[in-house]
């Protein structure tokens, strides 16, 4: 059982790290501001989610696990909204592209 859980952790964390890589590559390679915004928000939130999923079996207790999940939810919500605000400011010309 422990080995199985460890394999699960390693797989999920590696997958998460891959999405962080994808987010950075997207940020560096995508052609314009809006696509870059899209790349970092989606890929990084997914990466963080996978890493946290992988770490859940290692959490010291249910409260710790709950905290980990709420960190992810917070990043998810605030990241998505901030990105939308940035995108809107760019479209209205408040921010320089």
């Amino acid at each position: 059982m422990t080995i199985l859980l460890n394999v699960f952790t390693v797989l999920a964390v590696v997958a998460g790290a891959f999405f962080f890589l994808a987010g950075t590559v997207g940020l560096l390679r995508f052609p314009d501001t809006l696509t870059r915004l899209h790349a970092i928000t989606k890929a990084d939130n997914l990466g963080l989610g996978l890493i946290i999923l992988g770490l859940l079996p290692l959490a010291s207790g249910p409260i710790q696990a709950l905290k980990l999940i709420s960190v992810w939810l917070l990043v998810q919500i605030s990241g998505a909204i901030v990105t939308q605000l940035i995108a809107r400011a760019v479209r209205q010309g408040g921010l320089q592209e």
């Binding site: 940020l27 915004l37 970092i40 928000t41 990466g47 959490a59 990241g79 921010l95």
Partner: protein, 96 residues
Amino acid sequence: MTSFLVGTAGFVLGMAALGLFGIFLRPSETDRLMAAQLLGTDSIAGLVLLSITTETPSIVDVALMLALLAAFAAVAFVRSATSGGESNVAEETRHL
């Protein structure tokens, strides 16, 4: 397992560094703001990994704090970017 997770934390922060160096060479405000966002998410991931590896539960609290407040600074910026150029008088009438 411990060095694997620490290594992943290093990798994630390395990705943030790569993104930062790529972005800071571009002359775009939005890209720079994005790079700060990227660093925020990556730091949170790094902290969560370090919390598990060092078995210090309070580090997750630091991650929680960053998750709450990193967005806050960006909101403050977007607000100023959309209203900063206006004169005081225009804003005053808006409030009345």
